[in-house]
């Protein structure tokens, strides 16, 4: 429990800080971080913010964070993101997530997350049964569309949300790239 409090404290500190630039004789402090740090409550949410604001995707968001993938998906895109729910992550074999979120496995976690991302916005009407998408991980996923029901590698699409920089398809199973199967 102590550990959790510590984590919260770290974030609380980050939140309390100002973006002020402190200048000393030769050293200037400037804001770090990428587009996910842009303060903007007026624009349509990007695909990351959609996930962040979904109570069903806390595990995915944590994984994105662990893989340092939040900034990439906050960029201009366009992206199609297949977003597994918390329940989907729960279906993974025991120990999988624990292993993947270890710092030394960051690349592997990244590959898995990249297998959920396609560069391009594929709306529901564009999807055809049997269509293949070459994902950011460089591997293909196969889309299915039968009776209006969409699947990706057999995982069910439970719903979709349009973001400013792409589209999010909520899925019920984590997609594992061929090497990890």
């Amino acid at each position: 429990m102590k550990k959790y409090i510590l984590i919260l404290a770290v974030f609380a500190m980050a939140c309390g800080q100002q973006t002020a630039t402190t200048e000393t004789a030769a050293v200037t402090e400037v804001p770090a971080g990428g587009q996910s740090n842009v303060k903007d409550d007026d624009s349509q949410q990007d695909v990351v913010k959609i996930a962040v604001n979904s109570p069903d995707h806390t595990t995915l968001v944590a994984a994105l964070k662990a893989a340092e993938y939040v900034d990439a998906l906050s960029n201009a895109g366009p992206f199609t993101v297949f977003a597994p729910t918390n329940a989907a992550f729960d279906k993974l074999p025991a120990g999988t997530l624990e292993t993947l979120t270890k710092p030394e496995n960051k690349e592997q976690l990244r590959t898995i997350l990249e297998y959920h991302v396609y560069v391009g916005v594929l709306t529901e009407t564009m999807i055809q049964d049997g269509m293949k998408l070459n994902q950011v991980s460089l591997d293909n996923v196969t889309l299915g569309k039968k009776d209006g029901k969409i699947t990706v590698n057999g995982a069910n699409v439970l719903g979709s949300a349009r973001g400013s920089n792409g589209i999010v398809y909520i899925i019920d199973t984590v997609l594992l790239p061929p090497d990890n199967k």
Binding site: I7, F11, E29, Q35, A72, V121
Partner: protein, 664 residues
């Protein structure tokens, strides 16, 4: 036990996630990083010069702009393809012909890329070339006057994106079409007949080594794909040119999806020396084509537009050994040759790897006919046969690569918004830095040449968002300067840029500065309407045209009183700046002008056409603050009804009414 750990990890993740949710509320406060000694690296003390001229494309403003590096200070905007009311470019009678095309007068374009002229693969500081992406054209800017001196239109092109890249000795500037289109007699065809009727054309524009004059030497008829970027071979690969292609799917609708179907598009390797041989052997075919060739004459200070009517073409599907395709992953954008000319770096903008091809292996593959087949009659070299190696997962969305003098490459990544430094030989990633945000092209001084100057890399970003004080929905563009002299790249400056910079080049100041022209010599002014002294100032009527031979010198215009102009007349103000002093332009503006003002450089003559729409007295004045009596540098023109008997007369300093003004 294991389950417990997983659930604990999950809980931890949930906690982190909720912390993120909570953090995303507000105020969101990113962490800070130290800039170290960055400020001193970008600081150019007042009165000191920058180290490099940075010649930057203006994208949708149709202009080229000149900055200094490392300061990021903007020195000048050069109008190229767009009218510029600030100085009258594209509005003055002399400059209107520069924007003539086969479509008539085209007052705007989308200027994407810069190519600085080279000799033996190295910058020579003579000319800057630029492309017009919309109505296909290539322009040449003279680096002595920083003025657009030539614009050549490109027939059979749908949009000149893959341009104006140059060969080692500026033998050729290339122009590859972004849009394949049907050409010739059969252009009224269904869009769906793309595969059958649409063709891509590459123009090789020869550049006269003496005066830079451009001419379409030949065109290559290529399959209907999209050409994106290109680079010439150099050193051992001199004689070859490499173009990136996309939409080899030959889609004509929703390219967003349909042009991204294939795992690989192509790099197109062109043996232009071979093309030259075929032309010498008479294999070229002259075809009808209508295109404008506009040239600026520095002695008459006037542009002349000629409409050309034919072009020489070669068909590589018949002349088999001119071009070859090399598969390249996922819609390549950048196609960059390293300083040695051995390596060709493809950047698939939707890919997460960078293939590096070897010129030597390409030659071997061609000799061994190591082909995987043909595409539209052109041999396709096996990917592995041409490949030096791949930089695996360097980042997301590689766009463009340039090189330093130490064997390193710098690749921009749009999607992951970063610059990645890697070693060309070992393909090992050495360093990465974020850009703010979503970088397009990058530029290392001399980066595309055989002898990079190195020292800096500039990121030209596509997204600005919160980098500067906000200015409503439309923001300036953001560039970042990184010091690359050490092992690690260091961000030293963030500076706004005008228009939308796509590509830029930088050249050491000492290669350009000594040649920069200060004035135009009056005795060399051969403008037919020049008044080379106040004694030559006059007003002439030719039917309904009234020509005012006007002079400007601190601090009066001659003549400054003009009468006898009638409604229905076209008045031409031919203003000669009599100054022979650096940085003393005079301006000319008249009330109600429907076009622009003029800025006239010392020794130059420029003409503004003015058609009065009402009778009355119209003031005119100098718009460029020139002296303490600049505000007095003015005049009046009287416009009378069409049938009026008011005689044509003009004067300066003549006091007719002794009861007013200075005559009192």
């Amino acid at each position: 036990m294991k389950n417990k750990i997983i659930s604990r990890v999950l809980t931890a993740l949930v906690v982190i996630a909720s912390a993120i949710v909570w953090q995303s509320c507000k105020p969101k406060a990113p962490a800070t990083v130290s800039m170290g000694d960055a400020a001193s690296k970008a600081f150019v003390p007042p009165g000191k010069y920058d180290e490099f001229y940075n010649v930057v494309s203006g994208g949708f403003n149709g202009q080229m702009s000149i900055y200094g590096l490392p300061s990021g200070r903007l020195f000048r905007i050069i109008p190229v393809f767009s009218q510029f009311p600030e100085n009258g470019y594209g509005y003055s009678e002399e400059t209107i012909p520069m924007l003539n095309t086969s479509h008539g007068f085209v007052p705007w374009d989308d200027l994407h890329h810069i190519a600085l002229s080279t000799t033996s693969g190295q910058h020579d500081g003579r000319w800057a070339f630029a492309n017009a992406n919309n109505t296909p054209r290539v322009a040449r800017v003279d680096m002595k006057t920083f003025k657009t001196v030539e614009i050549l239109e490109l027939p059979h092109s749908g949009g000149n994106h893959s341009s104006p890249f140059i060969t080692e000795n500026t033998e050729y500037v290339v122009a590859g079409t972004r849009f394949s289109v049907p050409v010739g007699d059969k252009t009224d065809v269904p869009i769906s007949s793309f595969k059958e009727n649409f063709k891509g054309y590459i123009s090789f524009i020869s550049v006269d080594p003496a005066d830079g004059k451009m001419k379409i030497a030949f065109q290559l008829k290529t399959p209907g794909v999209s050409f994106d970027l290109a680079r010439a071979g150099k050193g051992k690969s001199h004689g070859w040119f490499f173009f990136s292609t996309y939409n080899t799917e030959q889609a004509y609708t929703l390219l967003e999806v349909n042009a991204s179907q294939k795992d690989k598009d192509f790099i197109m390797a062109v043996n232009w020396k071979k093309a030259e041989e075929y032309i010498k052997a008479g294999k070229g075919q002259t075809v009808k084509a209508k295109y404008a060739h506009n040239e600026w004459d520095e002695s008459t200070h006037t542009g002349v537009s000629n409409i050309m009517d034919e072009v020489l073409q070669l068909d590589p599907a018949e002349l088999k050994d001119i071009i070859y395709f090399i598969p390249c992953p996922k819609s390549p954008h950048g196609c960059d040759t390293d300083p040695t000319g051995e390596y060709i770096v493809g950047s698939g903008k939707l890919a997460a790897l960078i293939p590096v091809f070897s010129f030597t292996k390409i030659q071997q593959a061609i000799a061994n006919k190591d082909f995987e087949g043909e595409f539209a009659g052109i041999p396709v070299i096996k990917y592995e046969a041409a490949l030096h190696g791949e930089v695996k997962k360097p980042g997301l969305g590689p766009l463009h690569t340039e090189f330093d003098e130490k064997g390193n490459a710098y690749t921009s990544f749009f999607v992951s918004s970063e610059i990645v430094k890697w070693n060309v030989q070992s393909l090992e990633v050495l360093d990465r830095v974020p850009t703010y945000y979503s970088i397009g092209h990058l530029s290392v001084p001399g980066g595309p040449t055989a002898k990079p100057h190195g020292k800096y890399v500039v990121a030209y970003n596509k997204i600005t968002k919160d980098r500067y004080l906000p200015t409503g929905p439309e923001l300036t563009q953001s560039a970042q300067l990184y010091d690359i002299s050490g092992d690690k790249m260091q961000l030293v400056l963030d500076f706004p840029t005008t228009g939308e910079p796509h590509y830029a080049e930088s050249i050491p100041a000492e290669m350009v500065m000594p040649n920069s022209q200060k004035i135009y010599k009056l005795e060399e002014n051969k403008h037919p309407y020049a008044a080379l002294g106040e004694g030559q100032a006059k007003v002439e009527r030719k039917g309904k045209e009234v020509h005012v031979y006007m002079t400007a010198i601190r601090s009066h215009l001659t003549p400054d009183n003009i009468e006898g102009v009638k409604l229905g007349d076209d008045v031409y103000f031919h203003v000669t700046n009599l100054e022979q002093d650096w940085d003393v332009p005079h301006g000319f503006a008249i009330k109600g002008a429907n076009n622009a003002e003029l800025l006239v450089m010392p020794g130059e003559t420029a003409t503004l056409k003015w058609k009065p729409l009402t009778t009355g007295i119209f003031p005119f004045y100098c718009t460029d603050f020139c002296s303490a009596l600049h505000q007095e540098m003015q005049g009046y023109i009287r416009v009378s009804p069409a049938g009026s008997n008011v005689p044509l007369k003009f004067s300066t300093g003549k006091i007719e009414d002794q009861s007013s003004g200075a005559g009192q």
